[in-house]
């Protein structure tokens, strides 16, 4: 048996493997976007993948736009802006941030939370995920509580080790109080005080 010496271009094998890893075109985007929009969105998704950002939120954002009947320009803009927000979120939360944390942080940025405050939330949470605290901050802002008040309140709760389930209850109670006519900030502060007094914590404050 004679050995054949071949010069193999390693690059082509690598390219095949990389293509296999890329996931190919998402049929849902192909089906629901017009071609120019699809091409533009796909390029953003590919570049996010190359930057090791999660791509599912970007695909979801495009699908949302399609479902809501938005024109292609708006969809592309929305996807691009989400990519930018996720990049900023990862710069603050670190490369180990999960897709859910990046999504929640992106929503928080959109609501007006700053990088600085996001970093404070992260610091207050220690090793615990920031998804739920950020969702609550975003909701409080959406209910007309001023950004810094909402952020400071949740950071205080987070530092005390409030559990995610307690955060959920806190959000529902604040909403119910506001629906009954309470001032949003007063409602949030009152419910937060109650949480802290009841000690609805993990027992291990993050600081």
């Amino acid at each position: 048996m004679t050995k054949s010496v071949r010069t193999v271009t390693v690059l082509s094998l690598v390219a095949r493997a990389l293509t296999a890893q890329s996931g190919g075109p998402d049929p849902r985007l192909v089906a629901r976007l017009d071609k120019p929009t699809y091409v533009a969105v796909n390029a953003i998704v590919d570049s996010a993948r190359a930057a090791k950002l999660p791509t599912a939120p970007l695909v979801d954002k495009a699908l949302e736009g399609a479902a809501k009947g938005s024109d292609g320009t708006k969809i592309v803009t929305a996807v691009q802006q989400l990519r930018v927000r996720m990049t900023s979120a990862r710069a603050v939360l670190g490369s180990n941030a999960t897709s859910d944390e990046l999504k929640a942080a992106s929503a928080a940025f959109e609501a007006g939370v700053s990088d600085r405050d996001l970093a404070r939330v992260k610091a207050a949470s220690g090793k615990r995920p920031v998804t739920m605290p950020l969702a609550v901050i975003t909701d409080l802002i959406g209910r007309q509580i001023e950004v810094s008040a909402a952020t400071n309140l949740v950071i205080q709760l987070e530092k005390s080790g409030v559990k995610d389930s307690a955060f959920g209850l806190f959000q529902r109670n604040v909403r119910a109080d506001i629906d009954r006519g309470a001032d949003p900030t007063v409602a949030a502060q009152t419910r937060a005080r109650g949480l802290l007094q009841r000690g609805a914590t993990t027992g291990k404050p993050s600081e």
């Binding site: 090791k52 710069a91 603050v92 670190g94 490369s95």
Partner: protein, 181 residues
């Protein structure tokens, strides 16, 4: 990653984890923003100098001889960038935007009189010669010793002491009618 030392973070960056560099940015930007702003007098120039310092630090990271002292190494880069940005502006370096102090202050409570006081100080600082301003900030605000300042700036200790003394004299003159808080 956030709790890791600079040396550990740098190891990750040098292995290809670009995003780990964000930890260093977060760790140092506030402290050095303060120096850059007071040195250059406005946020835009301060951010330009600080961003430039971070990107140069990233590019030269393999040459950082003592990763545990990354902060000091970065600061040396920043001091140089501030000199470059300041020199480029020339006479315009004396421009100081009064509103910037109020906008930029991250203190949770900053009564109007404190803001006005800081504005006076920043305005006076911008009237110093840049080498005196640099020496004053390093000595009094960054609280470095003269030996450290000498290593950072490449200027001899006695020259630095003279610059600090002249800066203090000039600031006292400029601020002599302002009541302290």
């Amino acid at each position: 990653m956030e709790a890791s030392s600079d040396a550990v973070v740098i190891t990750h960056v040098l292995r290809g984890d670009v995003d780990a560099f964000g930890t260093l940015v977060e760790r140092y930007r506030d402290r050095y923003a303060r120096y850059a702003f007071h040195m250059l007098g406005n946020r835009e120039d301060a951010e330009e100098a600080l961003q430039d310092a971070f990107t140069r630090a990233y590019r030269s990271l393999p040459q950082c001889e003592d990763p545990e002292r990354f902060g000091a190494w970065l600061f040396r880069i920043l001091v140089n960038r501030c000199r470059t940005v300041g020199a480029r502006r020339g006479r315009r370096a004396r421009t100081f935007v009064a509103d910037e102090t109020a906008l930029l202050s991250a203190a949770e409570d900053h009564p109007a009189e404190q803001t006005a006081w800081r504005e006076e100080i920043d305005r006076a600082l911008q009237q110093l010669r840049s080498d005196q301003r640099e020496a004053f900030l390093l000595k009094y605000v960054e609280e470095l010793g003269y030996d450290e300042m000498s290593q950072l700036t490449g200027v001899g200790v006695s020259a630095l002491k003279m610059r600090v003394m002249r800066a203090c004299e000039r600031l006292r003159e400029l601020l002599s009618e302002v009541h302290s808080v």
